[in-house]
Each structure stands twice: as C-alpha cells, then as structure tokens.
Amino acid sequence: MNIVCSPSGIVSPFRPGQGIMDIAGAGFEGISLELAMCCSGHELEHFGEESQKEKEKEEQQNALDRGIKKFPPISEHPQGMSRFFEKMLGSCREKNLHVFVMTAPSLPRDTKREDMVPVLKSLHEEAIRYCKSLGCSYLVIRPLTYVRGSEKLWQLNREYYLGLADLAKDHGVMILLENQFVLRNGQAVRGACSDETAAARWVDELNREAGEERFGFCMNVGVLSLCGQSMYEFAVTMGQRIKAVILGDCDGYHEGYMLPFTSVCSGQPRTDWLSLIRGLRRIGFDGQMILNMSDTAAVFSPLLRPQLMALAKAVAEYFKWQVQIEELLKKYDSIVLFGAGNMCRNYMKCYGETYPPLFTCDNNERIWGTTFCGLEVKPPEALKGLPETCGIFICNIYYREIEKQLRDMGINHIEFFNDEYMPTFYFDRLKGV
C-alpha cells in the first residue's frame, strides 16, 4: 500500500518549496496531484461567462502590474497545466517525491452547467497525457452528475468515459471513477457511483467495452461519511476494483477534508473508521492511500505544519497497520500473547482459530496457571527463551509500559495487537479482568 499525501492546503504551486519540504520531511514518499489547483470547480462553473472574462482581464492586468506570472485559464488552455505545475513538481523531484495519483478537474457539487462536456473532455484528455508524462498510472475522473435517474446517469457517463478509453490505453493510464454526492438546495444527496452495486457494474461494463482493465475506482471516504454510507459494504462490494482511497475526516454534514480522528463528538469519532478498516482489511486493500487533510492543514499555522505533517504521516501509517494487521500475524511461525483480558478475548474470537497462540501471559500472578479463552496463562518469565520466530503480541492498552518491561527482560520480537477495529465484537465486555 502506498501512502500518498495530497498537497492541497499544504503546498502553494507558486511557491512550493516549503510545503513540499514539509511533506517530504514527514516521510511521505509520494503525492497525489490535484489538478483542481490549476482549474477549480468555480472556474468551470463560470466558464465562458462575460463577467468571468472581465474578472480574468483584471487579474491579468494586476499580475502584470506586480510583475507576477499569471497563467491564462486552464479551462481555456488545458495544455498550460504542465507549465502551471512546473515549479511544484521541480520541488517534488528535489525531494524525491513521486506522483502516484492524479485527480482531474471537475464541476462543483451543485453545478448548474449541462454544457461542459466538450470543455471537460479536452481538460481530461490533456490530464491523461500529463499523467503519462509524469509516469503516473492513475487518473481520478469524477463521474458527471448533472442528470437525474440512474439509467440516464449511466448512459451519460458511459459515453463520456469510453470517449477517453483509447487515449488512456495509448498512454498507459488507468481512469478511476469516484463515488459522488450532489447538493440539492444545500442538502447532500447520494449521487453517481454512490450505490456500490451500480458502481461495480459501471466499472465492469466500462472495462468490458474497453476490452481490458482500463477503469478502476477511487473510494472517497469523506463522501461516504457525508452520505452516511457503510464503508464496509462499499469496500466489500467494490473489492479489487478499488485502486485508491481518499482518506479524510469530515463532520458528516459538510464536505471537508480533515485529519482522520479530528472530527469528534462526545468522545466518539463522527466518521465510521471501524467500518472503513473492516472493509479495506476484508478486501486486502493494497493500492494508493491518499491522505487529504487540506482543511486541517489550512487552519494550522505554517509554524506548526512540520509537526502536523509528522502526525498526519503517523495516522496514515496507523491505517495501513490496521488494514494489514493479518500480515503481521502471518509474519511469525508462532504467536504468544501478553495480556489475559478483553483484548485477548477479542483476539481469540477473531483470530484464535487461524493464528492460534501457544499461550498468553500476564503480570497478574493470581491467574498464572489458569486458562483464559482456552489459553494457558503464564508468567512473563515464560517468554524468555522463545525463538525470534515467535511473535509476542501485546494485548493490553498499556503498550509502551509492557514493551519496556519486555525489552528490559531482553525480549525484542515484540508486536502490538489492537482490538478497536475487530471484524466482529462480543455484545459484552468482561469486567474485572
């Protein structure tokens, strides 16, 4: 799984050095290139309007007066997108940051424009060429959403995507569709590809007509949360069609891109991370994990940005760890648990059969020699002498304290287990363990 950082809210394309330095400094190895940075939904919505042209002239003049380079609108001159990002990508190259995914310009969620297909097509064709020139394999192109009715939506999009298929094939680019919502009088409503069964059918049908796997899917977590959808059901139905996931938090009522675990209420997350992790784990997701926290980044002072980016990287790594938790269990020839409480019980419920531990141990001497969930409970001393091929999994929330205890005993093959995002849960928790 590649962890990729969206530069939105972090990097200025006109003065990219510091933002790129922050991303690379946090340990990210790649970015997703958001073409909306050069051609926004607002620009597209007002494309061709007289007032927009006047505004553009005014901005050009202002830029000239201040000696600043002003790019002509990309919606009118798509070939200008590579020049627009020249400086930013130069900084990326200096820091060895790769572009793993690119996202294409799109109309706003509440668009009134039904006449933009030719403009979008020319932008998206240029994006495909640009994608190839950067050695990037994935281009996210959102479905068109301005018609109502599932069949009409499909027909509109079918024609649109297939119109790009040959070019994408020639350039070795996979087009990723993305789940959508639309705004109707200010209210979010599920839109194109929000129904997972329909989305899977769209991708399959497009690939069938393209004669190869030219289309895949990008699962937007924030949009699923905004639409109150089960991410587990979505991921499981979409399965291997999911090539990228846009990871971001939101308040559930407005579109936003926040650092995961920051949108909370009464000590609970507003995004259903349990459902997301369960789903991605179930399908063995191994694609591009795009962290988009543009709103969080935008409100943090640039002085705090390096620390924020380090936390963001740790959060993304945590998701990867949770999704791939079984890979960790597979790594060892045998397993021993540390802890004889609810976490141990949850381990045994979900993984005990597939990855049976040799025994568990606990610091509570009163339970040494007893059995818990079918496991013999031994003292920590029993861990001494276990081979390196036996992983010792700490099943207790006091991870670092126990880790230190074990390291002080000379034990190093230590791993953490976590039961916050288990495939299933008991209806009760044991008390007094």
Binding site: N185, R190, C265, F427
Partner: protein
C-alpha cells in the same frame, strides 16, 4: 385521489378515541397509522425495562382496543397501517426480555393488526452490524424474526413492512438497516416467493432517507410495487425531527432542502396507489394544543398536494 393518513400518537387518546378520530376526519384524513409502539415504547426498552401491556390475553387486548376500532369506523377512518413496538431485540438485554419481545409482543401485535383489519404492520430491523461485522449477518437475524411471524402474516393477510432506518456514529447519523434498495428488493421478492404471498413489503421513511442522503426518486422507483406504506416527515438533515414537509431550507434561495420534488416524481414513476401517511406526531406536541386541528389540516393538505402533483 390517494388517501391521506397520519399517526394516531398525540391525536387519538385511549380515554376518548372518538374525539381523536373525529378530529382527524375533520382535518382531512381518511386513514391512520395506528401507533401500537406507543404501548411499549422504545425509550422503555432502551432502559432495559418492560411494561406488561402485552401480558394481556388476546381477548383482553381486543377488549382494550374495541373502542378505538369502533370509533375509527364511526368517524370514517380506516386503520391502514400500524407500527409494531421496537426494538424487537436488545443486544445487551436479558434473555427474558428478548424472548418476551419476540415470542409475546410480536405475535400479539400481529393479532391486533388483524383485529383492526389492518393490512400493513411496520417493523424495525435489528441493528447488529457493528457486533456481527456485516449488514448481511445483521439481516440474517432480522430475517429469522420475519420468518417467525410470516406464517401468521400469510394466514391473516397482513404484509410486514421493513423500514429504512438510521444508526449513529459520534452523533452523526448514518444509514442503518434496510437502506440498500437493491438488497431490499431481492429479499422481499425471495421471501414472498417462499410463502407464496405478499408477507413482506417496504415502508419508505422520508425523514430517515433524508438523513441517510438517499435519492428519494431512485429508491422509490426501484422499490416499485414493494413499497406499501410511507412514513412521511421532514428534518434538517441532522436530526430525526419528524416535522412537517417543506419546513427546512438551507440556502438563500429558500427552497426546501428535502427533495420533495423527487418524492413526487417517485410517486408518479411507481404509480403509487395506496395511502400517503405522515409520521409527524412530534409536531402535535410542539404546537399549542388549541392549534392541533389546524396543524393536522395543514398536514392533510400537504398530503393532498403531493397526490395532486403526482397526478394520483
């Protein structure tokens, strides 16, 4: 024109059902959604408590509700649908409580539905996805419950209706059971085929759909003839407020934020031919009591407006 209905809760009182039914008739309703859930409330069950209303024998229950049945008929009101008490299963509840809900409350609710000559009873599916791990596993439990009452439904000519529900994550409302229309269609058809009768149908709740951001028109159209009853009400997209349609706006244009146009198109597309029933009991406690009949009249007029717009 389609008939218009409303909940009995907050409108029809046990002490004087005649007055309530007559008021509903005057307000413009010809049908009601009988609030059987009022007699064993969800609030009681969430406290893991159980009252003894359904301990009564079938005869005692029928005696209890005879005035309601008689006065509804006298007022020209038909009991079109009713709501079974919910939840039917408490995940952390004692076995005795869950056995009571499943084996006593549910069958007695079916008997009362038959007693009222009511064709539709709405149930809530179990909310177990978090613990069981998937919606499929959750549905299996709901289906097991449906099979426990489906033979009664067939014998009595009742259609059990599953309803689109919501759940919550950090007070953010998200979809709950029965929000996937494709699955609902498959399950209803499969179960009805098995029984050779329409034992299962769907209750489309507009308020819950708005909270789960469902596309009304698409959902209703795909359900088609399986959609038997409605719970029509409005909210702000944040809380389950059960308010009067057209109440909420979110933009400076002041157009309704709930997609009532899509609702009307859905009615038209599916050729709905039953009752437009409102689940707006909280409105009646919010408005001053001396305005209750005016408020009910407004609700009934909105129902007629929907029917007129849909050309039904």
């Amino acid at each position: 024109m389609l008939e218009i209905g409303v909940q009995t809760k907050n409108a029809v009182e046990d002490q004087n059902p005649a007055e309530g039914f007559r008021m509903l008739k005057r307000a413009g309703f010809s049908c009601v959604d009988f609030s059987l859930n009022y007699y064993l409330t969800n609030k009681t069950l969430y406290r893991m408590e159980q009252n003894h209303f359904f301990d009564k024998t079938r005869g005692e229950l029928e005696d209890y509700f005879t005035p309601h049945k008689r006065e509804a008929q006298a007022a020209g009101i038909r009991i079109h649908q009713m709501h079974m008490p919910y939840p039917i299963y408490m995940p952390n509840g004692k076995k005795e409580l869950n056995d009571y809900l499943w084996n006593v409350m549910a069958p007695k609710s079916m008997e009362l539905c038959s007693f009222f000559e009511c064709s539709y009873i709405v149930i809530h599916g179990f909310k177990l996805a978090k613990n069981l791990g998937s919606e499929e596993a959750e549905w299996s439990e709901t289906e097991r419950f449906i099979h426990s009452i489906a033979p009664m439904a067939k014998e009595m000519g009742i259609t059990i209706c599953i309803e689109n529900l919501y759940s919550s994550v950090g007070k953010h409302i998200v979809e709950g059971p029965c929000c996937n229309v494709g699955k609902a269609v498959e399950r209803i058809d499969r179960i009805n085929d098995r029984y050779g009768a329409e034992v299962l149908g769907f209750c489309f709740d507009t308020g819950h759909a708005n909270l789960a951001r469902l596309d009304f028109e698409d959902f209703m159209t795909r359900l088609g003839h399986r959609l038997k009853v409605f719970h029509i009400h409005d909210n702000d997209g944040v809380g389950d407020l059960h308010q009067i349609p057209f109440t909420f706006t979110k933009t400076r244009e002041n157009q309704p934020s709930t997609d009532w146009e899509g609702f009307v198109r859905g009615l038209r597309a599916m050729g709905f031919d039953k009752v437009l029933s409102f689940e707006t009991a909280p409105v009646l406690s919010a408005f001053p009591q001396d305005m209750k009949e005016d408020v009910l009249s407004l609700i009934a007029k909105i129902g007629k407006h929907f029917a007129g717009e849909a050309g039904l």
